[in-house]
Symmetry: C2
Subunit: 557 residues, 2 copies
C-alpha cells in the first residue's frame, strides 16, 4: 500500500495560477503565487467579493476522538472532491498543519489516502510562512514587554503577573516552564516564563477571527499581556506593539489556496488550538470560499462537543455565518472503542461493543439537531474490515434518530467513493434550517458554561471555587460579560475525565481557571490539565524524515 506521501507526490497537479481561474473564476492578478502550486488570495480581491451571495456552508465534525482514528480531515477533503464529482461547485476550507505533530507523533494534517490536499510536503512543512509570521508577531510582543521592563518599567509591570508567553512551532517540553532574564543587569529582570506551541498563541486565534487588516490591528492592540503592580491590565497597545505586529502579519493574512489530488480548490489558512482556542480555519478563508463556491466544506477540531460547539458558538457568531448542514464522521472501529473495546481489538466484529459505543454518536447527533437546530448526516469513514452486520446496526440506530448514515470510501477511492455522501449533503442543505446558538450574548459567563456543560456534555452541573467565581465577576465588571466562552477540556470524553468513553452523564464540570483572550474576544474556561506545549515521544517522527539529493522528502506522514 502506498503511503500518503507517495500518493501525494504522484499527484497530477495543475499550476494554481491556471486552476484557480478555471475552477472559480478567480482572476490571475488576485493570486500571489508561492511556487507553482500554492498561492495567496489578495485581500483587495477578497474585499471586491463582498456583495456576492454566499454558498452553502457544511461543517464536518466527529464523534469524540479515539486512538482508533476517525478521519475528519480526510472526510472533509473527500466530501469536497465528491461534491465536485457530482457536478457541484464546491470548495474546501482547512486549518494549516502545525510542525509539532509533524515531527512528533500524529503526523501532518493534509488528509490521507486518496483524499488529500497537495503539495503535501509544503503544506505540512512551512507552507507559505503564516505560522512563522504569527510566531514572530507573538514573540516581538514578548520582547517588547521585557525590553520595556529593562528600560525602566514605566507601565509598572508586575513581573509575577505577565501572562503573555513566547511561542515556537515545535513540540519542546523543556520550554514549558523556564526562567528568563538571568545573568545580571545587562540581561533584564529575571522572571518565570513559558513557551507555548504557535497554535496556542492568542495571535493565532485573533488571526483566525478577523475580517481585515484594520480589524487585526485593533484586536492585536486589545491583547492583555499582564497586569501592573496596582492590578491594572496592560495591553499590547500600551507598548505600541500592534502596528509592527500587524505589519508582520500582512502577507500571512491573505488566505492560501491549493488543490486536492483531484484538482479541486482548497483554502488552507490558520489553525488555532481546539482547546484554549476555537479550533477552526480563518474566518477570512471561510467567508471568501462562500463567495466563490456554491458549497463550502470545512472542519472543526476534536469532536463535536468541542469543535462544532466552538465553530458554531464562537466562529459563526462572530462572523455572522449560518451552516446549512453538519456531517458527523465516525468509524466502526472508533465506535467499538467507545463501547469499551481496546484499540488492538477494534478490527474484530463486535456488535455488542458497537451498540454500547453508539451512545457517543447519538449524543453528538442530538446536540447538533437539538442544541443548534441543524440538519445532520453521519459519514462512516469506511474500512474493509467493517462487517455488513455492523453497518446494518449503525444504519438502524441512526434511522431511529431520523438521521441518515452514509458509507464513504473516499480514502480508497477519492471523490467518487464519497458520491453518496455528497448527494446526502446536497439534500440536507435543502432541509429546513433552524440554526440557533446554544446561548445568547447576554447570559452571564457562568450561565454560558453551565448551558454548554448540561446541554452538550450531559453534565449535571458545573462547579468552581470562590476564586474562579470572583474572576468571572471581575470579567463581567470589566465589560467582558458579553463574550462567548471557549471551554478547554479533554477531547476524549464528553466529561472532563479522558477515560470516560461513550456518553457519560451525571458528572460535574469543574472549572479550574479562567483566562481572558481580550483580543480574540472570548473567555477561556479551563477544565482540566491543558497542554499548550506538547512534548516529543521516545522516537519522534523527525527521526524518520529524510531528503535525498534530488530534494525528494521521505518519512512525512
Amino acid at each position: 500500500m502506498r503511503s500518503d506521501l507517495a500518493i501525494a507526490q504522484a499527484a497530477n497537479k495543475t499550476p494554481i495560477l491556471k486552476l484557480a481561474p478555471a475552477k472559480a473564476d478567480i482572476p490571475e492578478d488576485a493570486l500571489e503565487p508561492f511556487g507553482r502550486y500554492k498561492a495567496k488570495l489578495s485581500l483587495d480581491y477578497i474585499r471586491s467579493l463582498q456583495n456576492r451571495p454566499n454558498g452553502k456552508l457544511i461543517l464536518v465534525t466527529a464523534i469524540s476522538p479515539t486512538p482508533a482514528g476517525e478521519g475528519k480531515t480526510t472526510t472533509t477533503v473527500g466530501l469536497g472532491d465528491a461534491l465536485n464529482h457530482i457536478g457541484k461547485r464546491a470548495m474546501i476550507c482547512l486549518r494549516e498543519p502545525s510542525l509539532g505533530p509533524v515531527f512528533g507523533m500524529k503526523g501532518g494534517a493534509a488528509g490521507g489516502g486518496m483524499a488529500q490536499v497537495v503539495p503535501m510536503e509544503d503544506i505540512n512543512l512551512h507552507f507559505t510562512g503564516d505560522f512563522n509570521a504569527i510566531a514572530l508577531a507573538n514573540n516581538l510582543l514578548a520582547a517588547l514587554i521585557d525590553n520595556h521592563i529593562h528600560h525602566g518599567n514605566k507601565l509598572q509591570f508586575d513581573v509575577r503577573r505577565i501572562t503573555w508567553r513566547r511561542v515556537v512551532d515545535l513540540n519542546d517540553r523543556a520550554l514549558r516552564q523556564i526562567v528568563v532574564g538571568l545573568g545580571g543587569t545587562a540581561n533584564g529582570f529575571p522572571r518565570e516564563d513559558h513557551f507555548d506551541i504557535v497554535v496556542a498563541s492568542e495571535v493565532m486565534a485573533i488571526f483566525c477571527l478577523v475580517n481585515n487588516l484594520q480589524d487585526l490591528k485593533e484586536r492585536l492592540g486589545d491583547i492583555v499581556v499582564g497586569h501592573s503592580l496596582s492590578g491594572k491590565p496592560i495591553r499590547a497597545r500600551d507598548l505600541q506593539a500592534q502596528g509592527a505586529m500587524a505589519a508582520l502579519l500582512k502577507e500571512a493574512l491573505a488566505p492560501n489556496i491549493v488543490q486536492t489530488l483531484e484538482n479541486n480548490l482548497a483554502l488552507v489558512h490558520g489553525g488555532p488550538f481546539a482547546n484554549i482556542a476555537h479550533g477552526c480555519n480563518s474566518v477570512l478563508a471561510t467567508s471568501t470560499a462562500l463567495k466563490l463556491a456554491d458549497y463550502v466544506v470545512t472542519e472543526a477540531g476534536f469532536g463535536a462537543d468541542l469543535g462544532a460547539e466552538k465553530f458554531l458558538d464562537i466562529k459563526c457568531r462572530k462572523a455572522g455565518l449560518t451552516p446549512s448542514a453538519v456531517v458527523l464522521v465516525a468509524t466502526v472501529r472508533a465506535l467499538k472503542y467507545h463501547g469499551g473495546v481496546e484499540v488492538k481489538d477494534v478490527g474484530v466484529e463486535n456488535l455488542k461493543a458497537l451498540r454500547a459505543g453508539l451512545v457517543n454518536l447519538e449524543r453528538h447527533i442530538h446536540n447538533i439537531q437539538h442544541n443548534f437546530g441543524l440538519p445532520c448526516v453521519v459519514a462512516i469513514n469506511h474500512r474493509t474490515e467493517d462487517t455488513p452486520a455492523e453497518i446494518a446496526l449503525l444504519k438502524s440506530t441512526a434511522a431511529a434518530l431520523g438521521v441518515e448514515v452514509v458509507l464513504a470510501e473516499h480514502w480508497a477511492k477519492g471523490g467518487p467513493g464519497a458520491a453518496d455522501l455528497a448527494h446526502a449533503v446536497v439534500k440536507l442543505c435543502e432541509q429546513p434550517n433552524h440554526f440557533k446558538f446554544l446561548y445568547e450574548d447576554d447570559a452571564s459567563l457562568l450561565e454560558k458554561v453551565g448551558t454548554i456543560a448540561i446541554k452538550t456534555y450531559g453534565a449535571d452541573g458545573i462547579s468552581c471555587d470562590a476564586k474562579v467565581r470572583a474572576q468571572f465577576a471581575q470579567l463581567e465588571a470589566d465589560g467582558y460579560g458579553h463574550l462567548p466562552v471557549c471551554i478547554a477540556k479533554t477531547q476524549y470524553s464528553f466529561s472532563s475525565d479522558a477515560k470516560l468513553r461513550g456518553a457519560p452523564s451525571g458528572h460535574t464540570l469543574v472549572i479550574r481557571e479562567v483566562r481572558l483572550a481580550a483580543g480574540a474576544g472570548f473567555v477561556v474556561v479551563v477544565c482540566g490539565d491543558i497542554m499548550t506545549m506538547p512534548g516529543l515521544p521516545v522516537i519522534p517522527a523527525a527521526n524518520g524524515i529524510d531528503i535525498n539529493e534530488n530534494g525528494e522528502i521521505t518519512g512525512l506522514s
Copy 2:
C-alpha cells in the same frame, strides 16, 4: 527628502518572472515565484549551469565601521546598477536582513536612497521564509536534544556541556541566559540554556557554505551539540536530526532573486553573523550569479579586517572562488571619525582629522593588496557636505599607494551616479591578480590566528591562557587542525578594543575562548565580548512601524 521606504514603494518594478528571463536568460521554469517580485532559483537549474564559465567576482568591503556610517550595501547595489548602466551584464549578491535590527535600531538591509533592492518591505520582513526555516531547523535539533535526555539519555549527555542553543530572529535580551526544563519530571531535566539570534546559528553558517542538499545534510549531521559525561562529542547525527533538518531547509536553500530600483537582478540569500561566523551571503547564490552574469558584485560584513578576511579565507577557500577586484567603501565623515572627531562634528571640514583617519583606510588597502594580492579601488560614498579640499587630500593619499579613489553618487543618483566607479572596477578586473590566502590549511590553528593578528590587525602578537592552548591542541588532535579560523572580535577597531580608532598597532590579540563549528567547517576564535543575542533600545524601531487598511507599511527604515 523621501524616506528609503517611500522611494522603494514608488519603484517601477517588473514582474520577476519576466525580468529574470529578459536580463539573464533564466528560463521561467527555473523560477519558483513568491508573489510577483520575488522568486527562488531552482536547485535543478543551478546544477544545470555547472559547466558554464564564471564571471568576474567583485567584493565590496569597507573601512572599520563607525557610527557615522559608510554605506556598504548601498554601494554594492549602486555599483551593480552602474555596471548595468555602462552596458555590462552584472548581478548583485547580498545577505538577507535579520528582523533584529529591523525592529531594533539599525533598520533593514536592502540598501538606501536610489540604490536599493525591492520589494523593500518584503525583503526586510519575512522575505521568502529562509530565516524561519533556519530557526526551525536549529530549534528542532534543540528539542531533540532535550527530548533525548528526557527519555533516558542513552547518549549520556552532560547537561552542563550542551553547546547547542535555541534561536529566534528578534533582539530579545531576556532570552540570553535562561533555565529550561523546570516544573517537575514531566518537563524534562532543568539546565542552563541560551537563545541566540538566528544569524548566529551554525545552521545559518552551514546553509551559506554548502553546494547542494547532500552537502547540507552531511554538514548538519556533523554539528557537535555537546559532550557526554565521559567527554565524547555528541553530534546532530547521533540524534538522527539531519534528515528532518535538511527537509526543513529544502525550499530555503534555493537562492532568492529580486531586483534593484533600476530593474537589475540581485540574489539575496543567507546572512550569517560577521563575528562568530563568516558574514557573507550564500555560496550557492554567489556561485550561481557567477554563471549568470559577467560581473558579480557582493559584500562582506563589517570592515575589511573581519569581513573581507573571512570572505577570502573562509568563503573563497571553501567554494574555490577567486575575486577579480575589491572595492573599499569609505565616507569622508567616517574617516574624520577615525581621525578623532566625534559623530556630531563629522559634517564640518577638518583636513587634520581626515589625514589622521586615513590611516584606517591605508591599512585596509595594504591588507587587500599585499595580504591577498588583489587589485582594489576606494569608493567614496559621496555626501554633499564633503569639501573639494577633503576629496583632494583623499585622492592624493590613495594615489601614493597606487590606488584610485572614485566619488560615487549612487545614493542620490542611482546607477548613473556610480558610473565612474563601474568603469574603474571594470579596468581593475583586467589587472593582474595574484590572489592568495592569508594562511595555508596546514598551518597550526594558533599560527593562523597569529598570522591574521599580525598581518591584518597590525598586532604585535597574540596571547591566550593554558586552557585555550589546550583547546587548540585538542582540536588538532581531533582532526580539526586543517580548518580555517573565524575571528570574533569588535568590528570597530583593528584591535580588540572598540575604542581604538584609526590604525592602532603594538597591541596584543587576546584569545578568550575557542568554539568548534564542525558543521560549518571553521574554528571560532573569540577575542572579546561577543554578543550573539542583541537587545532592543529604549525606543525600538518596532514602535514606529505601522500598516494601514490598504496594507501600506510605514516606519520601516
